[in-house]
């Protein structure tokens, strides 16, 4: 067997993880090959060296950073929870509809026509209110005119000690 093939088996040989046949082949080769024997020693040295690497302690600074992660996450979650409260959903829905309407108005190609229609509707509404106001004024006038007659009628009522036969002076 060539050295290249034996090299592949050396690490497993050190861990006694070869089949009996592979083990015999490696041992037979090692008896005659100095280069593979050297490599075997270096693999052994590498393994020992790796196993002897110390484990470093975590710095105070890193520990502080790690401890602050959950609270930061929690704070963020609270603010999101507030925004996702079900009671705010109708407000968000209304805001969305309003935004759609505003964008529909702002970006509509026929914006001038919409403006004219709005103006016309506003004027119509305004004139309706004026008419209503005028009607209310005339109704107040009529009530004023009838007020005196009603008062005299009340004075002349028999029940209140008046004379019903006395005619109302007009």
């Amino acid at each position: 067997m060539k050295c290249e093939n034996i090299e592949e088996l050396l690490s497993a040989y050190l861990e006694d993880d070869l089949s009996p046949e592979e083990k015999r082949t490696v041992e037979k080769h090692l008896k005659t090959c100095q280069s593979c024997n050297d490599l075997l020693s270096f693999i052994e040295e590498t393994n020992k060296s790796l196993a002897d690497f110390p484990q470093l302690e975590v710095s105070e600074n890193l520990l502080d950073r790690l401890y602050s992660i959950p609270s930061r996450k929690k704070k963020l979650k609270v603010s999101f929870d507030f925004l996702l409260r079900p009671s705010l959903q109708p407000i968000f829905a209304a805001a969305t509809i309003l935004m759609i309407m505003i964008s529909f108005y702002l970006f509509h190609p026929d914006r001038n026509t919409i403006n004219k229609t709005i103006n016309r509707q506003v004027h119509l509404g305004y004139s309706k209110i004026e008419r209503l106001y005028a009607n209310a004024e005339s109704f107040t006038g009529h009530l004023g005119a009838y007020k005196d007659k009603i008062l005299v009628s009340l004075k002349n009522m028999k029940l209140l000690g008046g004379n019903e036969d006395q005619k109302v002076k007009t």
Partner: protein, 167 residues
């Protein structure tokens, strides 16, 4: 608490993988942030330690591929690793430290998958079965990667030492 139990393990794994202290600290923080956001996906029937190491392994390898770490140099070995105490003789201690330095720098020449497998097996001392679970790979593939990594490091060590002896 998760930080107390796992921070040292994750930080050392990140440091051995990246080779730079500051990056390892940043990576550890990123891994813990990822952990908190992924906790809802954790299956309670699975081994938590293996699950966390899988998450860390995935993050480190993804970052390695994204940022091309292999081109970066590692920290000087003695910058953070203090010399080991109590050797049989000072000469033996110096030789041992020299070997560690060569191996430490040699780790940079291993591919991300081989590097991670060697770290888990030979530095962190995990069993092959545990590594297979963490890496989600068959046992044979893990053993083959460990063998390849050790052989590559041993060849680097052999070359450096032979060159030194020639000088």
């Amino acid at each position: 608490m998760i930080v107390n139990t796992y921070s040292k393990r994750i930080f050392n794994m990140a440091y051995q993988f990246t080779g730079t202290y500051e990056e390892a600290e940043d990576m550890t923080q990123d891994i813990f942030m990822k952990l908190y956001t992924s906790l809802t996906k954790y299956d309670f029937e699975k081994n938590f330690s293996a699950w966390l190491l899988t998450l860390a392994k995935n993050y480190l390898i993804d970052e390695y591929r994204r940022t091309k770490w292999e081109k970066k140099s590692r920290d000087n070995f003695n910058e953070h690793y203090l010399p080991s105490e109590a050797f049989e003789s000072p000469e033996y201690g110096i030789l041992k430290e020299e070997t560690k330095k060569i191996i430490w720098e040699g780790i940079n020449q291993l591919s991300s998958e081989v590097r991670m497998t060697v770290i888990l097996r030979d530095i962190q001392g995990k069993k092959y079965e545990e590594i297979a679970e963490i890496m989600s790979l068959p046992l044979g593939t893990i053993k083959s990667r460990v063998n390849r990594g050790r052989l590559q490091l041993a060849k680097i060590l052999k070359e450096k030492k032979e060159r030194k002896n020639e000088m």
